[in-house]
Symmetry: C2
Subunit: 400 residues, 2 copies
């Protein structure tokens, strides 16, 4: 009955990354492939205490159906945190979602007709490409440079098309680790002003800055021409599946209708648990612990890469987040490297799936957040070995 | 920027029922309007114990990202429960969703192109109409009779159209309380056999039968031409937002892709909590308590209706679930009745929104699950008073 599937599903395949992650089930394999936060820092006991307290205080209420918008104290916390960072937002502008991934789906649902144009970064976040692809837009990929979106290419794209959306991860992007500099933010906003293009700022890693200075949200430049996406996955825990959309009331009305049709409301138990956790604990202290650890892991990975990688291999040093982006010599395929490295029990994500259209064959993503120091040392050394083997063989373009 | 909204959202309005429910915030109002299970029976302490145990045993794991398919022990429990009811199903055929509402959304996403035909019951479940409407199908409403779908109308519809889906709630339907009889099930299956129409059996209330005999699932007649939807909302608690899709592997592959694009996976904490709860508690004993209470509430409501309602008013006595469907005299508008009853501090849901296209102006839905006996007695007496006032005034068709 395969002919019954909707067109949007006809050409999809199971996620390449998902398939890769199956290799990592082997405990001997050192994986830089996943995009997981380090579970060592999940506040298990604090969440257990918050759950016990919340269930004892208002258990019947938190187990019942609830409002589509989400738990009011949680929405107020999020709004207050934005305000404290210089982004004035009201709690009415917050909709709680199942992780920010659902935010992407709802944006697609509310804005995208088949064939509508939208800008994505090149390379771009794979989960966003997958979410938006369900609404069959025309993707307009604009390259990322080391300091953010390529402004010339952005200007040309805006000149020739009328994109409804520009989806970006301006802080420590997945997969590239790139952060938009302040001048790039300003120039991007300038190009978008007085156009009918909504800037979607996805910021799952924004709280994980461990170097450099915090930079303004695009909302500070573009006001309510922006939609913000946030997540508790990297600051509390991803298994709770809680994120949010922040948008002006006109958009929020439609998001609520779409969310209600999609799943009525987000898990209310989890919302009450997180609200209680945030009330009883110091989130900034918790984040300081995570950031110190991630910085150490990132620094070590960079140090090992400088020491061991062939000099033809380049990479971008991130100021936060969870990923380092590596560019191999033009003629070296990261798929071939994957095969070679897997034999040495090290895996990563080849860059190809992050590119809509062509490109990225010689790129790869390394994750440093979910790896201890011993495994980083061994893993990077083995990965360098695999690179050198490919360079010597000189047949890097033929997948082995 | 309203012109940026996708076509699917252009004509939507906030849910009528949602607006009605706002009236019910007044504690003096007796509400038969909601579709809520009775929170008195939420197993708060048992869920608190299950949470503490699960977090202590494998807290880090249950707070991490997880598989799209869902928590294996939970999928196995669901498959075993189907098997025990004579529906052989493997755990691989189960996908955990955010309530069965998300199951509806994923079915729309996987199967519906704009303009595809699908059958829905008339009256039909409003949440399903809203979920599928996002994919802009052509709805083919087929009337419900007291013992299930109108077979003549179904046959005619199948003769003239090629619906991809037939969405139904065969047990204690929302809103009508109707249950498909065994002969209607058999005849429905006969009409669908060797056609390219998938029967979607939504069964949120199936475990809440308090009268009559359990009847076979449509999967027993149609095999994997069916997709089953289930939910823990009415048997454990809705705030957990856990339901499932049960479908053959060919469909499951696509559901997993769609679910991954939509929100990666369902709340893993909640899945582990419910799995632990089901392991440590006797679900059947828990259900027996709920069913006994709902039966008592339903019986009392029916008794009061027989005693007080004008004889021109008819209703369907359900064998389970949460709703009683009432039909007023042809010329009496349930919207007018709503206004009249609200003055007497009683509310319900007028039937109109459950009809795609015309009809249902003289129908209404009463909920009996979430109301204590005193309020049922007073509420039905007042509702009867409002009906009599409208009958006497004789201007029932003019909304007041």
């Amino acid at each position: 009955m395969a002919h019954l599937f909707a067109n949007r599903l006809q050409n999809t395949q199971k996620s390449f990354i998902r398939e890769i992650l199956k290799v990592t089930q082997d405990p001997e394999v050192i994986s830089f492939a996943g995009g997981l936060p380090n579970p060592q820092f999940f506040p298990v006991e604090e969440l257990a205490a918050a759950t016990a307290k919340a269930l004892a205080d208002h258990g019947r209420q938190m187990l019942q159906y609830s409002t589509t918008e989400g738990h009011a104290p949680l929405r107020e916390f999020i709004a207050a945190r934005y305000a404290a960072k210089g982004v004035p937002v009201s709690a009415d502008e917050i909709l709680i979602t199942n992780g920010s991934q659902q935010g992407l789906d709802l944006i697609g649902k509310v804005f995208l007709n088949q064939g509508d144009a939208m800008i994505i970064e090149r390379p771009g976040y794979l989960g966003a490409i997958q979410a938006f692809a369900m609404y069959e837009p025309e993707f307009l990929p604009v390259p990322l440079l080391d300091d953010g979106i390529d402004l010339d290419s952005l200007e040309t794209t805006l000149h020739h098309h009328h994109p409804k959306l520009f989806y970006a991860v301006p802080n420590f992007q997945n997969p590239s680790g790139v952060t938009y500099s302040e001048p790039v933010r300003r120039a991007t906003a300038h190009l978008l002003t007085r156009r009918d293009t909504i800037f979607v700022e996805d910021n799952p890693y924004g709280e994980l800055r461990f170097a450099g200075n915090e930079l303004p949200s695009m909302r500070n430049y573009l006001g309510d021409q922006t939609i913000l996406l946030g997540s508790f996955s990297k600051v509390v825990a991803p298994g709770l599946r809680l994120g949010w959309i922040c948008a002006k009331p006109e958009f929020m009305d439609k998001f609520i209708i779409a969310k209600q049709a999609t799943d009525l409301h987000s898990n209310y138990l989890a919302q009450c648990i997180v609200a209680q956790f945030l009330q009883d604990n110091d989130l900034d202290a918790h984040l300081a612990t995570i950031k110190a650890a991630y910085k150490k892991q990132c620094d070590l990975m960079v140090e090992m890469m400088v020491e061991h990688f062939p000099e033809e291999v380049t990479f971008i040093r991130p100021e936060g987040g969870m990923f380092i982006w590596v560019t191999l010599p033009e003629e070296m395929s990261s798929l071939a490297l994957f095969e070679e490295a897997a034999r040495l029990k090290v895996v990563f994500v080849p860059g190809r799936p992050f590119y809509v259209g062509d490109g990225g064959d010689n790129t790869l993503r390394l994750n440093f957040s979910n790896c201890d120091e011993a495994r980083i040392e061994t893993g990077i050394a083995h990965l360098a070995e695999a690179m050198k083997a490919l360079l010597v063989r000189g047949n890097a373009l033929q997948p082995v």
